[in-house]
């Protein structure tokens, strides 16, 4: 049988290098209705018990389809939303329990880059003024000093410092994303959460921004949580990957491990569904799995394993019992999968049958028998 993960996570947590620890975090949004009496009649279970930890200088790629809760998770890490339950520890300190005053130093260290560089910059303020904000809020500096800092910052992210007095509308999409990055970088944070930072950009510009983010990481020892739906981009920037489905982590592990040896059927299908331009990869690619149906609503997620209604390998137990996120025999340390019937190396999911039900014991035995 598979070994438990709790041990691995605990070891990670005591490591001095751990920057961020997310511990069984839950976020439910109430669905309200009624004109006079406000009634909550349902919960959107956006994030439903997610745990992981992040080391200094590491990049965690968070992937999943729309509605899987990855952006909500980003906002929980940056404390933009309060958690419903669970803990987020930054350098060992539980930030979910802090008041506003206590949060201030944390806010300097944890920053965010948003997807839409059009929507996240105030169109009526000059770039210099937007970028001065972090300094005037958090530091006591003279105006001349702030201006010097802002211009230095602009130069660092590849903007021309003379454009200090321009408005956001005078910049192109890629340049605006540089402004967003400069703003996040202003106070020398430790952790930057990038929520789809290159999704709105054209490919040629996208590559510039990815390179910039990588340079800044090396220069300032930054730790990133990188959210993107483009799986090639995520692969390029990440050290580790976490795959979310309907508010749950279904699989996490080192990047090459996830891309070459994904164990969760959802991860495998997601990776196989991506159209890829890379010709070397196209010829080497395994079979393509086309999932049926859509992502169900997080208001009323399926019982048991949330992926079971779409899973090509689902059995009876998947509908009743939720699989824990655990280490599967044969996988390297740190590769965790939440599945009763993980994909075996060489197995073709396209031919998997939901009806040919092997006994659960037999399936587990088969997993154990494979040497990876």
């Amino acid at each position: 049988m598979s070994t438990s993960t709790q041990g691995d996570l605990a070891v990670d947590a005591t490591d001095a290098q751990v920057l961020l620890e997310v511990d069984d975090v839950v976020k439910h949004f109430p669905v309200r209705s009624g004109a006079l009496i406000d009634r909550t009649h349902a919960q959107v279970r956006a994030v439903d018990g997610v745990s992981f930890s992040l080391k200094v200088g590491e990049t965690l790629g968070l992937v999943g389809e729309s509605g899987c809760g990855k952006s909500t998770l980003a906002r929980l890490i940056t404390a933009l939303h309060p958690v419903t339950s669970g803990h987020v520890r930054f350098r060992g300190q539980d930030i979910t329990a802090l008041n506003r005053r206590q949060m201030r130093p944390i806010r300097k260290s944890v920053q965010m880059v948003f997807q839409d560089p059009y929507g996240s910059l105030n169109p009526r303020r000059r770039v210099g003024s937007i970028l001065s904000d972090p300094f005037s809020v958090h530091e006591k500096m003279s105006r001349a000093e702030v201006k010097r800092q802002v211009q230095e910052l602009m130069a660092r992210v590849g903007l021309s410092p003379e454009h200090f007095n321009r408005f956001p509308s005078e910049f192109s999409g890629g340049q605006r994303q540089r402004i967003g990055i400069a703003r996040a970088l202003a106070l020398r944070p430790d952790l930057i959460v990038c929520d789809e930072p290159v999704s709105a950009l054209d490919v040629s510009i996208q590559a510039q921004i990815i390179n910039l983010l990588e340079d800044l990481q090396d220069e300032f020892m930054l730790t990133y949580v990188f959210i993107a739906h483009d799986l090639s981009v995520v692969r390029h920037v990440s050290d580790r990957i976490a795959v979310m489905y309907l508010g749950k982590l279904v699989e996490t592990g080192p990047v090459e491990e996830i891309y070459s040896n994904s164990r969760h059927p959802y991860t495998a299908s997601l990776l196989s569904a991506v159209p890829v331009a890379d010709q070397a990869f196209r010829t080497a690619r395994r079979e393509r799995v086309i999932l049926t149906g859509d992502v169900p609503s997080p208001v009323n997620p399926p019982s048991g394993c949330r992926f079971h209604p779409r899973c090509p390998k689902a059995q009876a137990i998947c509908a009743t019992e939720e699989p824990p996120l655990e280490h599967k025999t044969g996988d390297p340390i740190g590769h965790l999968t939440a599945c009763h019937f993980p994909v075996n190396p060489g197995e073709t999911l396209a031919n998997a049958s939901r009806d040919a039900v092997p006994a659960p014991e037999a399936a587990v035995g088969a997993t154990e028998g494979v040497d990876q």
């Binding site: 040629s204 390179n211 739906h229 890829v276 010709q279 859509d294």
Partner: protein, 343 residues
């Protein structure tokens, strides 16, 4: 004969800030049953080109030729164009929610196409609508035909749009970013459906997208656009393995490799050109690593390059200079090693 043959298409818009030259000499052709991908970044004119051809770019000044089975679409009256849209040519857009009327049942909307263009009566048209919904993979089509667009998910709505596009078995479907608003797993479903429909109905498809991966997946031929002009045209294999134009090469090198980490990406330097002026030179010249003096004199015409037939490139470089520079050479061994190791 080509099904659609577009020659030297130019589209401009007069705005308060001056004239926007969106398309500046676009040429392409589609054979019956062929899938042509048109790829380009935002502002390259890829959507405007097809919209202008189909008379869907109000206020635009359009010149050139667009021959659909020999008849020039650009000289047709609005009535004639309306007859062609839906009958011979169907369009599918990125956002299926804004393309469907929110207050009419989807069945009625599909049926309307057939009532208008094929003189079917309501009952026959509705029956055919049920059939079409089943064909595009919507479960329980008899029941769903009475639903409103908001009762469908994004992927299902796009299926409805495809059903509608197929209603009159057109010869050409123009799909403008049909899967951009969808999740990857749903995108795979829709692309597979489009491919199957194309095979079953022998329909030609123009697929407009910014995603090179989608083109590699489903298109036969691809046209790469930049600054309102075609830069390169080739069959998909040649375009990806033996690209000639420096812009195509730049695009391919900007995408993170899917088969493994390769050190740093090689972005194209600079930013796309302004569309507020007419192009007198190669539009890519200011960003091109191999620009010559002659690139600034006039935009180079498309010329045959490489080894595969039909491979055209609008570049002055020698016609046998195809293929990507070896990517590995860009990453030093040290860099490559760091890329593979976890910190």
């Amino acid at each position: 004969m080509a099904l659609l043959d577009v020659r030297d298409l130019r589209v401009s818009f007069d705005t308060d800030d001056g004239t926007v030259y969106a398309v500046q000499g676009m040429s392409f052709s589609v054979e019956p049953g062929q899938t042509l991908g048109i790829v380009g970044e935002s502002g390259s004119g890829k959507s405007v080109s097809t919209q202008a051809i189909m008379g869907l770019a109000p206020g635009a000044t359009v010149t050139g030729e667009a021959l659909l089975e020999g008849a020039d679409l650009l000289t047709m009256s609005e009535d004639e164009l309306r007859h062609i849209r839906g009958r011979t040519v169907s369009l599918i857009f990125q956002d299926p929610l804004t393309s469907l009327h929110p207050l009419y049942r989807v069945g009625a909307q599909i049926a309307e196409v057939m009532e208008t263009h094929a003189q079917m009566n309501r009952k026959a048209a509705l029956e055919r609508a049920v059939e079409l919904l089943g064909l595009v993979g919507i479960p329980e089509p008899k029941k769903r035909v009475r639903d409103y667009p908001h009762q469908f998910s994004g992927g299902m709505r796009q299926r409805v749009m495809i059903a509608m596009a197929l209603a009159l078995e057109p010869k050409l479907i123009i799909a403008d970013e049909p899967t951009t608003a969808l999740d990857v797993t749903v995108q795979a479903q829709i692309l597979e459906l489009l491919g199957r429909m194309r095979k079953d109905f022998q329909t030609a498809v123009i697929l407009i997208t910014h995603d090179l991966g989608i083109v590699a997946d489903v298109a036969d031929d691809v046209v790469i656009m930049y600054g309102g002009r075609p830069m390169e045209r080739a069959d998909v294999r040649a375009a990806f393995i033996e690209p000639h134009h420096p812009y195509t090469q730049g695009l391919l090198q900007s995408i993170p490799s899917y088969s493994g980490r390769m050190g740093r990406l090689l972005p194209i330097k600079g930013y796309p050109p302004s569309l507020m002026r007419q192009i007198q030179a190669c539009p890519f010249a200011p960003r091109c690593p191999q620009a010559h003096d002659e690139c600034l004199v006039a935009p180079p015409p498309l010329k045959p390059v490489g080894t595969s037939p039909g491979h055209l490139s609008a570049c002055v470089l020698p016609s046998d200079a195809v293929g990507l520079p070896a990517h590995d050479a860009q990453a030093t061994p040290a860099e490559a090693a760091v890329g593979g190791v976890e910190p």
